[in-house]
Amino acid sequence: MASPEPYTPPPLPTPFTHTTPPPTLLTQGAEAHIYKTTHLTPTTPAALKVRPSKPYRHPILDRRLTRQRILQEARCLVKLVREGVSVPAVFALDWEGQSGDGAWLLMEWIEGVVVRVVFERWEAFMKAGGEGLRGERWRAEEEKVRGLMRGIGAVVGGLHRAGVIHGDLTTSNLILRSGVEGEREREREMEGEVVLIDFGLAAQSSSEEDRAVDLYVLERAFGSTHPRCEMFFGEVLVGYRDSYKGAAVTLKRLQDVRMRGRKRSMIG
């Protein structure tokens, strides 16, 4: 039986063809590839997001879409950096994409653990007997989770205060920044600054509907990926409520969105 061809990612755009050592591919989505590389000095880590051109699209349309999307993402990030929201800084980008080999965005590398993994570890611990905890020890576990939930609410609130919506809030797009790399003790596994990543679907908006949908998407993501943590999701909203002036209005709107789902219009 013929074995499937080993996967080879599309060639890197210039100037990364010269890069030594070459950037390492971390993940790939439908729209983009993420590499780890360096920037400005060989010891400054950086994340490289490449949007390869899509051969099935008309070249003019392809260039326009790629350019629009990479710029949208970069503009949102730069605005958020200015506003002091925890997101990766933009180091450099190319929205033109030379000779059709794709546009790229070079960003700050955020060292830490994806929040999805943090919760998965905790849920595994609880399943393996942690649920038998009583009294003080259970309260300590609960307080850890609540603290992280509030931190998530606060960073999403800061994002909305700055006039940006994320568009794809899940626990995979949140990183718990760690000062130093390495295993942390269980007591401190949920401490640290929450950083928002992947602004590929982000947009500038201050509408309460858009903001409420952002929260709703995150709430649903919790329900499906972290069933044991879902009972603490209310703490996200507590952290969110105190983070900007219009938060209360958005939370009220969230109740409407919950009743009908994220699509307001039933047309189409």
């Binding site: 010269h18 400005l40 000095t41 730069v78 002091g84 800084a89 933009v90 180091f91 980008l93």
Partner: protein, 198 residues
């Protein structure tokens, strides 16, 4: 001969394009140097930058990186890669304005010089020798520490329209000044990266 000329290879750029950087204080012949640029004297093809407009090494390298990428992609908006470096510091598309704000002026005392080896004849030694006989000033080491002594942060914030940069969110007392510095630097670097996006 000056030994403070630093030669750097920036990641991702071809190794045939090293970048030479030198920093001077108490420069005495700024009007002469500026005149060489205006008259287009090819011996003085440098990026001559008013160092009070510089925050850090990362700030400098971001502008150089942007200019060299545009040079490699044949997208220069100005005469050559060295004028483009000065232009790359600017958050706007106005070339004359960027030279006024970031380039050398007759009153410049602290000067940053950048040269890219666009031809093989341009080497560390050739640049060092030429600078030693052309620039009347005290060479100092090109470090973040020296740069932060020279930087005029108020002027930099104004040039990048970051005057209204709100203070840090409440609850950041320890290390807040360092976080604020990083935020300013990252805001400036983001503006350099996004210049020209419409």
């Amino acid at each position: 001969m000056s030994f403070t000329l630093e030669t750097i290879h920036l990641p991702h750029l071809p190794s045939s394009l090293p970048v030479h950087v030198a920093l001077y204080r108490d420069v005495q012949n700024a009007p002469f140097l500026r005149q060489q640029l205006i008259s287009g004297n090819s011996e003085f093809e440098y990026a001559l930058i008013d160092a009070s407009m510089i925050l850090s090494r990362a700030h400098v390298f971001s502008a150089v990186f942007r200019a060299v990428i545009d040079y490699l992609n044949k997208r220069l908006k100005s005469r050559n890669v060295h004028s483009e470096i000065v232009f790359s510091f600017s958050p706007t598309n106005n070339i004359a304005d960027s030279f006024r704000k970031f380039g050398i002026s007759d009153s410049t005392k602290d000067l940053l010089v950048v040269k890219v080896s666009v031809t093989p004849e341009i080497t560390h030694d050739s640049v060092a020798a030429h600078l030693a006989q052309s620039i009347e000033g005290s060479p100092v080491s090109f470090t973040d520490e020296t740069l932060s002594e020279i930087a005029d942060v108020a002027k930099i914030k104004k040039a990048y329209k970051l005057g209204a940069l709100t203070s840090a969110p409440a609850g950041q007392v320890n290390g807040a000044s360092n976080a604020e510095k990083m935020r300013l630097e990252n805001s400036v670097i983001g503006a350099i990266a996004l210049r020209g996006a419409t």
